[in-house]
């Protein structure tokens, strides 16, 4: 009898501990989630508070003024904003097709033996610190760009009527083009890794049926694989874009830090993160500091809008897939 009581007692204790563990676990997860939300709220509050003096002083014109004068304390966000958008656009134009191509190669064309080493090599690119990209860009790529690539681009593409304007100007190596290319190189591993993983989730039966019906490799990827993993690919692109918008150290080295609107891809410019990195520790007047925090707020809002647009795209894709049907 005593033995059965002991067993009963230990069973009850296990159940009680289990319930306690459950409650503790639930509070802990709630707590960490709440902490993340509180931190996000804190960041927004600090940004708005810090930016308020500058925004009150300059008003909405802050977003469309191209001035940046620490002597007379007049500031405008247009130049850093345009620089951020321009370098991210170049990074996307270069990075998305490249990462798509690499992911395509790794899932379709690559010999099986080489798949793992090549995938690892691409992922190692992500492990390179961003400042190394910046140093490599300034010391290795910039002179090469100034002497070889930019004059060649100016010669071939300069005379073309509309886009020629983008490739004219004095080649100095560093500038929007080099910064965009380095950014593209930096976001390539992330996008490739996600795209490759997503391509591999396509059921083999779908691919094989397409091949069986006589589709070429290109048709299989473009018409079968991509539509299937549309959401994942868009997610990868959004991830890359978010990284490109906020990247600081690599861009600071090669963008040229010039507070003037770039008229061509060869011109130097500045981005919001590069401006903050260069000037924040030394902004001596209150207006200057507030203007820099306002720049940070602009970047925060920009990234938020981009991510929200990405999510909206994904939502519509989901609805189209499940609701509308094909």
């Amino acid at each position: 009898m005593a033995l059965i009581d002991q067993a009963e007692e230990s069973r009850r204790r296990r159940i009680r501990n289990g319930r306690l563990a459950d409650i503790f676990f639930r509070w802990m997860t709630w707590g960490f989630t709440a902490l993340v939300l509180v931190m996000l709220g804190g960041v927004i509050v600090v940004l708005v508070q810090g930016a308020a003096p500058a925004l009150k002083l300059f008003g909405f014109d802050f977003l469309i003024t191209a001035k940046w004068n620490p002597v007379t304390d007049e500031y405008g966000a247009l130049v850093p904003l345009v620089g951020t958008l321009a370098t991210s656009a170049v990074a996307m134009l270069v990075g998305v097709p490249a990462s798509f191509a690499v992911a395509f190669f790794l899932t379709e064309l690559c010999p099986y033996k080489l798949r793992t080493p090549l995938s690892t090599a691409v992922e190692l690119l992500a492990a390179v610190p961003s400042i190394i990209y910046g140093i490599w860009g300034l010391f290795v790529a910039a002179p090469f760009f100034q002497t070889t690539i930019e004059p060649a681009l100016a010669a071939w593409l300069g005379p073309i009527p509309l886009i020629g304007q983008l490739f004219s100007g004095v080649p100095i190596g560093i500038g929007v083009l080099l910064a965009g290319l380095i950014l593209g190189l930096m976001i390539l591993p992330f996008m490739t890794a996600v795209m490759r993983d997503v391509f591999e989730t396509v059921p083999a039966v779908l691919r094989e049926s397409a091949y069986g019906l006589g589709a070429t490799r290109w048709e299989v990827v473009w018409k079968v694989v991509l539509p299937y993993c549309r959401t994942g690919v868009v997610g990868a692109v959004m991830l890359g874009l978010g990284r490109a918008l906020g990247e600081t150290m690599a861009v600071t080295f090669v963008i040229g830090n010039a507070h003037r609107l770039p008229k061509s891809l060869f011109d130097p410019a500045t981005t919001i993160s590069a401006a903050l990195a260069n000037e924040f520790t030394e902004a001596v007047s209150d207006t200057y500091t507030s203007a820099l925090i306002a720049l940070g707020l602009v970047l925060f809002l920009l990234t938020f809008i981009v991510l929200a647009a990405g999510r909206r795209l994904l939502l519509r894709a989901e609805v189209a897939k499940t609701g509308g049907g094909k």
Partner: protein, 347 residues
Amino acid sequence: MLKSFGKLGRASFFALSALVLTTAAEASDISGAGATFPYPVYAKWAEAYKAKTGIGMNYQSIGSGGGIKQINAKTVDFGASDKPLTAAELTKGDLIQFPTVMGGVVPVVNLAGIKPGEIKLTGSVLANIYLGKITKWNAPEIAAINKGVKLPDTAIAVVHRSDGSGTTFNFTYYLNAVEPAWAAVGVNTAVEWPVGLGGKGNEGVAAMIGQTQGSIGYVEYAYALQNHLTYTDMQNKDGKFVKPSYEAFQAAAANADWAKAPGFYLILANQPGATSWPMTAATFILLHKTQDKPENGKAVLKFFNWAYADGDKLAKDLDYVPMPDNVVKLVEDSWKQVVDASGKPVY
């Protein structure tokens, strides 16, 4: 369960004691931040001082603007700036300032086949290059003062500082003194440059000049020498073209009347003298008058006392001009203003 708790307890005890022991050893290091202009000589002084006394001096070369901001925020023991603060600013921040060394800002170029000192520039030409009015190397204004030098038909890539810089302050002060049109841009640690690329710190400008052909920039002389950059000769106030050198900086510094300058506010740009370098500048240390941590204030003053007494040769090796003895006396007298909370001088 009890056993593993015991192990955890023992492990954390050892970790804590290790932490306490390591932090105790570094309590006496002094920290400073600011100008990149004197960084080479401060680094050499810190090395020698540590070898002699075992006390380290941790200096962050973040630019004069950063130095002023950090000393006002009291995150460092002393700030360093090539832009001297006015008497009003010193009173407002409860700071004293004193000069440590003088050096020269030199224009540097990257032109194929041109050696250091082969090209001459005047203040007016330099200002017009930085205003964007002179855009090519073979422009008539440059060719007129450089007869016999083969100047290429390429665009000038102008490089300036992207951060808040006392070197920029001294450079723009000089350009403002020699070229009336510069008033549109102004004089400050950061200005709205009409043309050009920005490099971070003297180091960043030196790197960009080295990497970009056809470029021109301004750096402190030690950076030009250490990075093997091509410096130019400049025309001084007396109309003579001089090479940058220790003697040229010293000639400019000889004109300085430190006794008459309140708070040692003195700018050495465009000084008279046949051999003077026109862009000479002094660099200053900023220290709080009322020290929250008197031991730190005392340690800082001891370091600079050593530097004035024994650091002259190290400064001269890097082509910085040390302060003359009569000025050192004035400076050390001014240190009596540095007091602790009760009003007693710390040094």
